[in-house]
């Protein structure tokens, strides 16, 4: 897929923002007043900033409000609804914590559940795609969730939990890459089933329908990014998992945690870029491409 910047930024930052909100909803850390203000400001900046960024890839963003209507069938719509509910609930929670010094415990729990559900809905937008076998697997939502909660743990200074969750994210990522590399081949779809001609012999794309480019090829058969995939995977793994874990093992307080977070952010952005760039859509089969 063509990795749209707005979507990469959206999935990474809103994942972190909702992960942070999930921790804050549990009262971890139990902050009030100015302390709470900065935590919530960061959480809302990440989550709302991500959501705004996501509208930049739309053809007609002025109609984005319509996207909350189809929650019965659409994961994208569910994500929108859950995000708004989370922000509303946690907004009230934050209001009381910052200005009245009160912790509305039960409301916080509701906010935590909603925040995690939002991240799950985001991941399901991709995991539901049968057309992209690399994504169509439980490890995608698992990875999104663990990265979100782990990032939140990092931001709230839960060092041990962050280390454990990042390690789990690393394992999930490894298995996701390994499985993903053969997912298209094992999906049962090939140029033979795509054309229905496979039983007659070996099918080869002889002549494409058009000599130029088109929306499908630009959007779904994006090959440029895959050239350096191996190196980028190394960088993503180092940044997202390994370096932050090593940094967190150094007892250095907030400065080290902040550095670990920035490295993690850069690594996760790289990982997410790869997530989209490496996605192989079955429509490529019609063009004899991947």
């Amino acid at each position: 897929m063509h990795p749209a910047h707005s979507i990469i930024i959206f999935t990474v930052t809103s994942g972190l923002g909702f992960g942070l909100l999930a921790w804050l909803g549990l009262g971890q850390p139990a902050v009030t007043g100015w302390g709470a203000f900065w935590y919530f400001a960061l959480a809302f900046a990440l989550s709302v900033g991500g959501l705004i960024s996501s509208t930049f890839h739309l053809g007609n963003p002025q109609r984005a409000w319509r996207a909350v209507s189809q929650w019965r069938s659409s994961w994208l719509s569910r994500e929108g609804v859950l995000a708004i509910l989370t922000l509303a609930v946690m907004g009230i929670y934050a209001l009381f914590a910052v200005f009245f010094g009160q912790t509305l415990t039960v409301l916080g729990w509701v906010g935590t559940i909603l925040a995690l559900a939002t991240v799950f809905a985001t991941s399901m937008i991709y995991a539901q795609m049968k057309t992209v076998p690399r994504w169509n697997h439980w490890s995608v939502p698992a990875l999104f969730m663990v990265l979100s909660i782990g990032g939140g743990a990092l931001l709230t200074g839960h060092v041990l939990v962050a280390v454990i969750l990042l390690a789990i994210a690393g394992l999930l990522q490894m298995s996701n890459w390994t499985r993903g590399d053969t997912a298209l081949a094992q999906s049962g779809s090939d140029i033979g089933t795509a054309t229905g001609l496979g039983l007659r012999g070996a099918v080869r794309a002889f002549e494409p329908p058009h000599t130029g480019n088109n929306y499908l090829l630009k959007e779904m058969v994006h090959k440029v990014g895959r050239k350096h995939a191996r190196k980028l995977r190394m960088l993503a793994f180092l940044g997202m998992v390994l370096v932050p874990i090593l940094l967190l093992l150094i007892p250095g307080g907030w400065v080290v945690i902040a550095i670990a977070f920035l490295v993690h952010l850069a690594g996760t952005l790289t990982q997410r870029w790869l997530f989209f760039a490496e996605a192989e859509h079955v429509v490529g089969l019609y063009y004899g491409k991947r």
């Binding site: 739309l58 053809g59 007609n60 109609r63 189809q70 001609l197 794309a205 494409p208 329908p209 079955v282």
Partner: protein
């Protein structure tokens, strides 16, 4: 509403004969011609006369080479447009309700006024049947020429999709595939019409008729006895020459 109807009264769709299609792309041109100036946003082109032209099309013709285990390779022209699937994944992913499948005839349509251009439906479609228009920012797809097939202002012969009306080879057929007595259903039954990527579970309404098996050459030519040379032995001068040369 982007939930799919349980059943549709009709299953209007196309039957495409891969045996007959000559790959002339007339259906592509007529589709673009009709659909750019009637229903919804025009099918725009970008840099149409420049070095990198692109544009929105609802129907495209691929060509494939099929090499059987024995015998010569075969070239098959392969028109592809929306298959109006019964279990259309493009419809259920739509967050705004712009994509829908009609209960009365099963046609999958986009309400362009509600489309935000997120592109998710194009991602959900395994067939590449949907293309985002770069100028309008909305998703375009085959409407089965819904503005022709019910259009009483057109002569009756024209009340079929533009591609079907245009095809000079008669490779495209339009009808109700839900009615087993319809001409298209009979054609599908007779010729072993097939689904594209059935493993995706989309249950396409459009069917493709596979190329007919090629005639097998008989081991001997039935006309051969009549074509055998009548005179076995040369006579006259040529006969003498033949014998003389033979002896040398």
């Amino acid at each position: 509403m982007t939930t799919l109807p349980q059943t549709t009264d009709k299953k209007l769709g196309l039957v495409i004969d891969l045996d007959t299609c000559v790959g002339c792309h007339a259906c592509v041109v007529s589709c673009k011609g009709w659909n750019t100036e009637n229903y919804g946003a025009p099918l725009s082109d970008q840099d149409a006369y420049g070095s990198d032209p692109t544009g929105t099309f609802l129907n495209r013709v691929h060509s494939y080479e099929v090499q059987p285990e024995t015998g010569p390779a075969q070239l098959i022209h392969f028109p592809k447009s929306c298959l109006h699937c019964e279990d259309a994944p493009c419809v259920t992913v739509c967050p705004t309700g712009a994509s829908y499948k009609r209960q009365e005839d099963g046609i999958v349509l986009v309400n362009e006024d509600a489309c935000i251009g997120c592109g998710l439906c194009a991602w959900a479609c395994p067939y590449g049947a949907r293309e985002m228009d770069a100028a309008a920012g909305v998703m375009k797809k085959c409407t089965l020429c819904v503005d022709r097939i019910y259009n009483e202002n057109l002569p009756e012969v024209d009340r079929v999709p533009s591609c079907v009306r245009t095809c000079p080879a008669g490779a495209r057929h339009f009808g109700d595939l839900g009615d087993e007595n319809s001409d298209v259903s009979k054609l599908v039954a007779e010729r072993g019409g097939m689904d594209l990527m059935p493993e995706q579970g989309t249950k396409p309404v459009n069917k493709y008729l596979p190329p007919r098996p090629k005639d097998v050459e008989p081991e001997f030519d039935i006309l051969a006895p009549y074509l055998e040379p009548v005179a076995q032995d040369q006579k006259g001068f040529l006969g003498w020459l033949d014998k003389a040369l033979e002896k040398i």
